[in-house]
């Protein structure tokens, strides 16, 4: 085999290697288009926890909300106000609100969009020199006026997905992984048109 033939083969192997190592993106399902008016104020409702990780839903909720505030594009309703209304309508934080309750929350909080979500898996696996956390989440954007789901997003990541060379770049904590996952979801939403307020 001549040297000329070897180069395309090596190129193909490198391409396959790069493709298999490339990070997996979040999956977005658009069920309905976003409302035409600008979505400025959003309410992030307490996430449910379907994982075995203690308080996994609350941990991801706090991180996701913090990341949403950090974008600077959204006026995010306070968790305390949401919990106040949950108490009034006798809804437990782990329960999914009905369409009617979504509309009520939207009106009372002055929000145009409601974010709901659930942590499907959250865990940590011991590895040499560190920990490999994993996280799979499902986050929805709902229209606060109709209570209907507009966008549905699924994202799954592991700490090892961010490894660059050897141990460098590896994400070792669930909190940091939740931060990365939140940022990736918000970036995807932003790219697809969920941009929040124009300053």
């Amino acid at each position: 085999m001549s040297i000329r033939c070897i180069f395309p083969v090596i190129g193909a192997i490198i391409l396959v290697f790069l493709y298999s190592c490339s990070p997996r993106g979040a999956t977005l399902q658009v069920l309905s288009p976003l409302p035409k008016q600008e979505i400025c104020r959003v309410a992030v409702l307490p996430f449910t926890n379907e994982s075995q990780y203690p308080l996994g839903g609350l941990i991801f909720y706090r991180v996701f909300m913090a990341e949403m505030i950090r974008t600077g594009h959204f006026d995010v309703a306070q968790e305390g106000d949401i919990r106040d209304i949950y108490d009034q309508i006798k809804l437990l934080p782990g329960q999914q609100p009905s369409i009617e309750q979504i509309r009520l929350l939207g009106s009372r909080l002055g929000a145009q969009a409601i974010i709901t979500g659930s942590v499907i898996t959250m865990g940590e696996q011991r590895q040499f020199l560190g920990m490999n956390p994993s996280l799979a989440v499902h986050v929805n954007i709902l229209d606060a006026h109709t209570g209907k789901i507009l966008w549905s997003t699924y994202h799954h990541r592991e700490g090892a997905d961010y490894r660059k060379v050897m141990h460098f770049g590896m994400v070792n904590t669930v909190t940091s992984l939740a931060q990365h996952v939140s940022q990736e979801i918000l970036t995807l939403w932003f790219d697809k048109g969920f941009k929040g307020c124009e300053k």
Binding site: E67, Q78, E79, N172, T175, K199
Partner: protein, 475 residues
């Protein structure tokens, strides 16, 4: 709109520690953050004042704070900013990890103006030869605090938007499901804000404006009657503040329902005429034809005169099935006969629906027809069923006097004829056992000690049972 942050007094709310559950608090880390803020040139509300405020307002949760309390913190503690935080992760076990989220709230409009997230593991801090490497989460804490405060804002961007509607402390709209013309009531309790309570009205679709009565203690009530037409009616509260400001907020909706739910009761058993027969127990499966929320249900067994023998009731959704073992409420078995199983269901608006099914208790053994005929050297056993319950199984066994099996036969359908050769008897008696079982499980058994004799009798006594035409003096 961008604005410069002039505030310098920060109230540091106790930091929630989720590694110790939802009620976990880390006071040491709270103090560390306060120290860090002081070093940044900010004034911090003393811990004791902060605790007194929490006690005064009965604040139990530390991870979040409602708008009302954020505004009160400005009034009562003189705080310009409130720092809330949660330790999401604190793991001492190797490699050890710490995760933290912080939120900064501005007290003049109760908005979150900054947030930070930081997660750090000892595996992230591996050093050559282990020099200056943290050995516990306590050593990770100051590093995490410094990292997170690195993004502390000098200027804060303010996003224009509606302030959340926080004055409502509690709201009650009852009932949520109602029959046309029935009374509804709405009660609102407001948090005392300012000196004068607002005037309140309700905007109700199909009704119009309903004023709310103010009890003078920030409590409001209003009542009205449900419209005639079935449907969903949203209710909105309109606040007229003394400043001239008007605010609206959605309170919920109620349903007017005049149609009873459609319910059926499916029985599993043997249908006999217009009833379903059983022996030991009967299963009844209820089903709503158009599913809707149910408030309560009742099932009862009534005799033919309408007297209730046993009943059971419950609230909420219907059970998946009912079982009746043919007993009264006292536990005794009911007599054989026909009964009515009555299921009553009430929807949330108290419309009642009823489903009635007839059930028949059948405990008597099958009524057997047994005839033996002789034709020459052959005998024929004719087997039939006189009862109304079909037979599921029958068997006939003919044995000679010495125990030898001469003939066996079985089947599932009646009538049936079984032939036996008389020569098999060899001038001895032939014994016959017949057994029947109906589909409800009732069984009958009959033994004939001398089959040949019975056959002979039936062939010679053909006129037995025939009415005597003349009087016999000695009988």
């Amino acid at each position: 709109m961008a604005g410069t942050l002039y505030a310098t007094t920060v109230a540091v709310f106790p930091i929630e520690d989720l590694s110790h559950g939802v009620n976990g608090v880390d006071f040491n880390f709270t103090r560390l953050l306060s120290k860090e803020l002081k070093s940044m040139g900010l004034e911090v509300v003393p811990e004791k004042e902060m605790m007194n405020f929490m006690v005064r307002h009965r604040i139990r949760r530390v991870g979040s704070l409602s708008t009302y309390y954020v505004l009160r913190m400005r009034e009562q503690l003189g705080a310009d900013l409130v720092l809330l935080g949660s330790i999401c992760q604190k793991e001492e076990k190797a490699p050890g990890a710490l995760g933290l989220t912080l939120y900064l709230l501005r007290t003049d409009d109760a908005r979150v103006v900054w947030s930070g997230v930081e997660g750090l593991s000892r595996a992230d801090m591996l050093r050559l030869l282990g020099i200056d490497q943290p050995h516990s989460t306590a050593e990770l804490l100051p590093i995490v605090a410094q990292d997170i405060f690195a993004s502390w804002p000098d200027q804060m961007e303010q996003v224009l938007g509606r302030i959340p509607f926080f004055p409502i402390q509690s709201v009650s709209l009852r009932p949520l499901y109602v029959k046309p013309g029935h009374k509804l009531e709405c009660r609102l309790k407001l948090r005392p804000i300012g000196r004068k309570a607002p005037d309140l009205y309700l905007n109700i679709k199909g009704i119009g404006t309903v004023p709310m009565y103010n009890d003078g203690h920030w409590g409001y009530t209003a009542d009205w009657f449900a419209p005639v037409k079935d449907g969903k009616y949203p209710v909105e509260a309109v606040f007229h503040w003394s400043s001239g400001r008007t605010e609206k907020t959605y309170l919920g909706l109620y349903c007017v329902d005049s149609v009873p739910p459609a319910v059926t009761l499916r029985l599993s058993g043997v249908r006999l005429g217009d009833s379903v027969a059983f022996r030991d127990r009967i299963f009844a499966v209820p089903k709503l034809i158009h599913p809707e929320p149910i408030s309560r249900w009742e099932i009862s067994i009534e005799d033919e005169k309408g007297k209730s023998l046993i009943s059971e009731h419950g609230t909420g959704n219907l059970p998946s099935r009912f079982v009746w073992k043919g007993q009264t409420g006292g536990g005794s078995s009911v007599n054989q006969g026909v009964y009515r199983m009555v299921l009553r269901v009430w929807d949330k608006a108290d419309n009642m629906a009823k489903s009635i099914q007839k059930v028949a208790v059948r405990r008597t053994p099958p009524s057997m027809i047994l005839q033996v005929k002789r034709q020459g050297s052959n005998m024929f056993v004719d087997l039939g069923n006189k009862g109304e319950v079909p037979i599921s199984f029958w068997c006939v066994e003919v044995r000679s006097e010495d125990g030898r099996v001469v003939k066996t036969s079985e089947g599932e359908k009646l009538p049936a004829r079984i032939g036996v050769n008389v020569a098999e008897a060899k001038n001895k008696k032939l014994e016959c056992v017949v057994m029947l079982k109906d589909i409800l499980g009732n069984s009958a058994r009959r033994e004939i000690k001398d089959l040949v004799r019975m056959a002979n009798k039936s062939s010679t006594g053909g006129n037995r049972g025939k009415k005597q035409e003349t009087w016999e003096s000695e009988f």
